[in-house]
Symmetry: C2
Subunit: 358 residues, 2 copies
């Protein structure tokens, strides 16, 4: 499968739409937990780091949620930001000058915007707009966004690196669906794709964000210096389930060999390198989030399994067909239950970038 094809797979099925039992909307509790933890940090970041003068020349305060999916997490996140900005105004005695808010909900064109729009909170205090397109390209006019937010979005690459799908390349990623237990060549290919994508991401946001504007990014990542084998354990486990189905004759090995997840678990240091190379942002906060739930493996495993299914099912279905889904994810849930919970959960980071003046 060519890189363009995989890229389209990713483009075509970012998350399961609608509101069925396996939908993303009904299976994003796990991320909501991180959002709750991130909530306080985001409020603190806005209280301490936001310069409210940045919106004085604008008719409204503009917020973008990048990779919003279909909700409800995007609404919680946006509501939290709006409240924090209002509090900042109030704290400075500028109650009467609180601006109107306009929120841009962004995701791939194939995202279920119809459902997103139908589930917009009735009592929202902002004007809502949907913006279709990849956040690795430009989405908004120059200097038009005051706060850009992305939660669990920027670990998705724009595409699978070409080499890992090429049988004749030393970076061919045979028998795996991500890079964590793969050869150094595979890891390097993913790392290069990440660097290219992050360059595009920062370049686009640098143009779109007003000077002094903030970018708040929450992402699953890897602590500096940790081995790649500790990254993306939950995905690697899904790959091992697919290989089990290969051994059972349910799935062809070739299909697993040609299937790769466009996902990279960056470290804070890697992000820092990208931000410095871009040059337009300062790093105001870089923090690892405490894990939200101290549950035991048995209670949290089904939640992780459902979450991974909601997020990944579209891509899996396109490659392997609908008929394997239940068997695959049943097996996956069992394997999750047998895993070390903290390894499975991985690490989540929050970074706050501020757009510097040119």
């Amino acid at each position: 499968m060519a890189a363009e094809d995989i890229s389209k797979v990713c483009e075509a099925h970012p998350m399961i739409g609608g509101d069925g039992p396996n939908s993303y909307a009904k299976n994003s509790t796990y991320q909501k937990g991180f959002l709750d933890v991130a909530k306080e940090l985001v409020r603190k970041a806005i209280a301490e780091k936001l310069d409210i003068d940045i919106s004085s020349s604008s008719t409204s305060f503009k917020i973008a949620d990048l990779g919003c999916s279909v909700g409800p997490n995007t609404f919680f996140a946006v509501e939290n930001i709006v409240e924090a900005v209002e509090l900042k105004y109030q704290g400075q005695g500028m109650n009467s000058q609180i601006p109107e808010f306009q929120v841009f909900f962004n995701d791939h064109t194939s995202n279920d915007f119809n459902m997103l729009f139908k589930s917009l909170p009735q009592n929202r205090r902002y004007y809502a707009a949907g913006v279709p397109g990849s956040f690795y390209g430009r989405l908004f006019p120059n200097a038009s966004i005051h706060i850009a937010h992305s939660s669990y979005g920027i670990h998705f690459l724009s595409r699978v690196p070409k080499e890992v799908m090429d049988r004749n390349s030393p970076a061919w990623n045979r028998g795996h669906i991500c890079y964590s237990n793969s050869t150094d060549e595979v890891v390097r290919a993913y790392k290069a794709q990440y660097a290219e994508d992050m360059e595009c991401f920062l370049h686009a946001r640098a143009q779109e964000t007003v000077h002094g504007g903030l970018m708040l990014l929450t992402f699953p990542g890897s602590p500096d210096g940790s081995p790649h084998s500790r990254s993306l354990v939950s995905l690697e486990l899904l790959g091992s389930c697919l290989m089990d189905l290969v051994r059972k004759g349910v799935v062809s090995e070739e299909k697993v060999d040609s299937f790769n997840m466009p996902v990279y678990s960056m470290s804070p240091q890697e992000l820092e390198v990208a931000v410095k190379r871009n040059g337009c942002f300062s790093i105001d906060i870089m923090a690892e989030l405490p894990r939200p739930l101290a549950h035991d493996t048995l209670s949290i495993s089904p939640m992780i399994a459902s979450h991974i299914r909601a997020a990944m099912e579209g891509m899996i279905k396109k490659q392997f067909g609908e008929e394997i889904l239940d068997e695959l994810f049943d097996l996956y849930r069992q394997k999750c239950e047998q895993s070390v919970i903290n390894t499975l959960l991985g690490d989540t980071f929050l970074v706050v970038l501020r757009r510097k003046a040119d």
Copy 2:
């Protein structure tokens, strides 16, 4: 059926989505004809009436298409406006200062935004956003729109006037689906609903449009002083087809009695009264559009019939069921062929309003 219910009918099925044979996307040629005629007038209006200083304090030039449906007409209309604004800049020797454009596509929340986003032109020269909601309420922040456009949108009322659905009211609209051949009481009820809606429309737009900004409205209307019986002939004809089906026993009379189209054919004078009462806009242009096609009745009737089906099928289906659709619209096409073509086509107007400084 309560007014709220009918209002929901209208809200739930503004146009047929998707791209099937009866979809609005495939049956909007008739309106495209008017768009072509309107195109030149819109360019002329922008050339003569637009003050490009209005966007000097903004990071981009913002255009809204109100009641955009699913395309492709909205893309033609928007492209035309963008080109006209660019020409205006070029004509004033300000080639290097042409702003970036941001276009907001607005329609009811139930509009098929997924399809709209998928069909966005690849080579567009603007940033696109979708904005769900009724244009009878606020959609955008204060003073954030430079040009608002609406083509074949503002003749849809926000709801059917309550009285016409009330058996005990003198305004009960028995045996008709619009007001053109109804009693004076019915006409008055529709007129009052129009006045109320237009007040809301202008009030919202007055807040959203920058001073000096333009509003370009194309709508099917009635010449000043023309009798109501000449308005909405194509809809009245559809009502008579429904009554034929009542006589054939296919449809219950009660269902026709309780069904009314939330549509009003305003006259230029009525719009002028509303604009003056609102007080925030001046009327720069008010023109009747020449009919785009000089075809004979036989060739144009199927086009009108398909167009009315695409626009109205959702509402008809909800009230009368899917099973009557083909019979109803076959009959309708035949009746169209027997009609006087100009009466059937009706009259279309273009009005250009300019937001006055307070």
